[in-house]
Structure formats: C-alpha cells, structure tokens
Amino acid sequence: MSVKPATNQEYEFYHPDLFVMPENGAKPYLLGYLCQKCGKTWFPKAVPCPECWSEDIIQIPLSRVGKLYSYSTVHVGQKGIQTPYVIGYVDLPENVRVFAQLDMEPAELKIGMDVEVTAGVTRVDPNGVKTVSYKFKAVPAD
C-alpha cells in the first residue's frame, strides 16, 4: 500500500494508482485498469491482467457514479475510525465493485441508489493525522 504524507496534517492514500483529486477543483475520480486483450477492467491496478496475463493494460478514469449494492453501519470497527461509520459496496458501470466508506446518514441509505465518488477523511492516526481517500456519497438531486 502506498500511503504518503501530503502535508504534516494529512495522509493521502493510494493516489497515484487509484484515485485522482484534480488540483483545478474538478471532481475526484477513481482509476481503472482496462486489459486490451480480454477487455476486463480491474480496480485496484493489476499487472499482468489476472484473467489473461496480458501486460497490455491502460489506465482509464472510472465513472464517478455507481449503484449501491449493499451497505452497513459499523458500530464496532477498526482502530482509527470514529464509530459509527457507514460502509458499502458500489458497482460501477465498468463492471467493477468498489468497497468504501460512505459519507451518508444511515437514513439516506437504500440498496440500488446512485452514489458518487468523493474525497474525505477515512481514518485518523493516534497523532491526529488524517488519511484522505475515496468515499461515496448520495448524488445530489438537481
């Protein structure tokens, strides 16, 4: 895993290969790895392709919006994550399923709903240093 300090106050998790938070203020997105031989998309990065062993793999931006496959509110969790916290599996159109924390209230949660990727604090170490990584949230109605 590649956790690198971004500033003294924050860690960013997996940014180069997994997650992009554009500096120009554009919306964050996840990175997929599309095998040019068998057509499968992987998240996280896998080279060679675990399916066909081709090394001809290109990086693609994954769709920002997916469907919530399932969720739970965790009351007894890991050290470093304030409870309760909400977790879920999100299915993206590129045929990948992503596990993440959800920046959502339990009452908002519904299986099958659209959720979009966002950046947020996923854990805080014993010195108070935050890890910022991908999360999902409800797609605002407009």
Partner: protein
C-alpha cells in the same frame, strides 16, 4: 488411495482462558485424542497443527512436552480454515500411504492476542481493510442484501442465534450455554447493522485434536473409527467485478467437490457443523451447501428441520455462535463434534441415529474473494 479413519478425538472446553497459552490448550487436546485412540503416542508419525495468531512453530511447542518430537511437524495458517487445513493435510498423508498414523491439532488463544473493542479486520495491507472493512461489516452487507432480495426480517436472522443457543445449552464444551429469545438477541448492542452482538460469534480460546490412521492401523488398534469420506480445501477466486454476495461461491464449490469425493449428497447428511460466524451465514449455508433452494433458508429454519430432532441438524454443538471461534481450533473442533455424534457419544445434544456428518469452515478476509480458504469434510460410520 487408502481409506482414512479418525480413531481418537479430544478437545478443551471453549471459553476465555487468558492464562492458558495456545500450546497448553493444544497439549491437552492432543493428550485427550491420543488417550481416546488408545494408541501409543510413539506410533504417531506426523503432526499437523492449525493456528493463526501465535507466530512461528506453534506445533513444536504443543508436542514437545508430550515427548512427540523428531517426527514431521507441519504448522499451518489458513485463517478460519487453519484447523480444517491441518486435518486435510493429515488425511492426505495417510491416504497417500506416506504415514499410517498422524495427528491434526487446532489451537488458539485469542484473548491474549486481540485488542478489545475492535472487530476482526482484513490485513491492513488489504485495500478494503485499509478503507475500514471489518468482518462483521462484510457479513452485514450480505445480510442487508439478502433481506432486500427475499424480504426477511431481523427476527428471522435472530432465530439462528436462538436455535444455536438451544443446542449449546446441552453442550458442556460450549462457551455460552444460556438460552436466549429473539427479543434478547435483537436488544443486544449493535455491532454492524443489522447484526447485534448475539448475532456474531464471540472470541474464544480453545483447542481440538484428532488421530487419523489407515484401515490396517485401525484394525491393529482394535478400534472402530469414523471414516473421512471427503476432505476438501479450496481458496477463494479473485474477482473485482460485481457478484452475488448472497451466494458464497467458495462454499458452494467446496461442498460440491466434497459430495463428489464422498459419493454422497445433501439428502444423506444427518448433521452439519457450518461456519455460522454470523446469523446470516448459517442461512446462506443451508442454501449453498445444497439443503434448500435460494431464498428458502428462513423457511427451512422455521420448519424445525435444522434443529435437534429435525432432518438435518445444523450446529448441534451450538456452532461458532455459542462455542466461540478460536480461529485455528474451530475446524478441528467441528470434526471432533462430528466424531462424537457419529459414535453416539454426544450426550444430551445427540443427533439420533447420526450416520453421516458434514463440517464446513470458511474465512479469511481478502478483498475480491468471498473468503480466503474453505474446508469441507464429510464423515461416516
């Protein structure tokens, strides 16, 4: 391949024993299994030892004070399936003709290893682990999805805990022997919605052991063994694409391989010790192990068919739910229970006329896999 029999079985009670290191628990279980087999310990030619948390060479520490040194000792770590893996290796060592008599031991002291107030989590190097995944949360998502697809309720889930407590109340080896009601299960504190505390298997320490031997050796001992008709161990398949979390593929696959190896089917099985780490798990296993169709698990549970006195008794010892789950020990402990049941020695929790038993463990959190490893055994008398 030669037939393989279990001629000795032993275990410690399961509970919280912070003062008893794993090697002390393992030694007791091994001693009892050897006494039960009435075999001279010097005839045991190899030992296979399942353990998760202890670190290097736990088996040597189990066997050294029993004077069982010099023989081949193999230490195996395969998460929740470590004990089943030890039995599987012992099975093949005898079946292949390499040895005539071996032991498999599973032993674990968790209370000395786990920090309180946290849930069992995947490795911190795992992408889901680092994002906050914990085992209760993963199974809770299976439950939530199943509830959505089949319209079952929290009360339905709680019935698994009620049944397994009923069974455990008859088992002196169980950690929790109290009866519980649906209301009590649902009122216990929330762990990962929809699971309350009493829907999650508790931490435990304990050990279990079996002596395996060839048919010839069994005759020489004058013993009447329980035959191992199937011993299957598989790993999870890695995929990052969406799949149906209510159909744990690894367990379905392992059970089909076991049925095929044994030449038996679900209709032949009298009792199952399955990996009921969470209430939903047992319901899913009724289905994927082949005892009912998809979405029919709660119906089967409510019919009484999986309770003592029913057609196929699930978790007669009280399951992981009431025994607790000392990771490396569980797979062997399930097999010890199966041996006692098949010999008709299970006391008040005896499954009447039991002739065929199945044991099933699965576990280990690796992102992209149902579980890391699954072990299934079928035993007969």
């Amino acid at each position: 391949m030669r037939k393989v029999y279990i001629v000795g079985a032993g275990m410690t009670p399961f509970g919280k024993f912070p003062d008893r290191p794993y090697y002390n628990l393992g030694k007791q279980a091994a001693l009892e299994a050897i006494k039960d087999a009435a075999i001279d310990h010097r005839q045991i030619q190899a030992g296979f030892v399942g353990n998760v948390m202890a670190g290097m060479v736990p088996g040597q520490k189990v066997f050294k004070e029993l004077g069982m040194t010099g023989m081949q000792i193999v230490n195996v770590e395969n998460a929740c399936s470590s004990g089943a893996t030890a039995v599987n290796l012992g099975y093949w060592a005898v079946a292949s003709g390499q040895y005539d008599a071996v032991m498999a031991v599973g032993t674990e002291n968790l209370t000395g290893n786990r920090s309180g107030g946290t849930a069992l989590a995947p490795d911190p190097d795992d992408i889901e682990g680092v994002q906050g995944a914990v085992m209760p949360g993963i199974y809770a998502m299976r439950a939530r999805r199943y509830m959505e697809e089949y319209g079952i309720t929290p009360e339905d889930l709680a019935l698994v805990a009620v049944k397994n407590h009923k069974h455990a109340s008859l088992n002196p080896y169980a950690q929790f022997r109290n009866l519980v009601t649906v209301e009590e299960v649902l009122a216990s504190r929330m762990i990962a919605e929809p699971f309350t505390l009493l829907q999650c298997c508790p931490v435990a320490d304990g050990a279990a052991a079996v002596v395996l031997c060839s048919e010839e050796k069994m005759r020489e001992l004058g013993a009447k063994g329980v035959q191992i008709n199937a011993s299957i161990l598989v790993s999870g398949k890695y995929k990052t694409e969406p799949g149906d979390m209510t159909v744990p593929e690894i367990s379905e696959r392992a059970s089909r391989l076991a049925y095929s190896m044994a030449g038996l089917g679900p209709e032949d099985i009298n009792l199952v010790e399955c990996h009921d780490a969470f209430t939903i798990a047992e319901i899913l296993y009724y289905e994927v192990l082949g005892f009912c169709g998809r979405g029919e698990g709660v119906g089967l549970l409510r019919s009484g068919a999986v309770e003592l006195g029913g057609k196929v008794v699930f978790s007669p010892r009280g399951g992981l739910m009431c025994m607790g789950h000392p990771l490396g020990a569980t797979g062997v402990a399930q097999i010890v229970e199966a041996v006692w049941q098949l010999r008709g020695e299970a006391g008040a929790r005896q499954v009447q006329g039991a002739k065929v038993a199945m044991t099933h463990v699965t576990g280990g959190g690796v992102s992209g896999m149902d579980n890391a490893a699954c072990g299934v055994h079928i035993l007969t008398v």
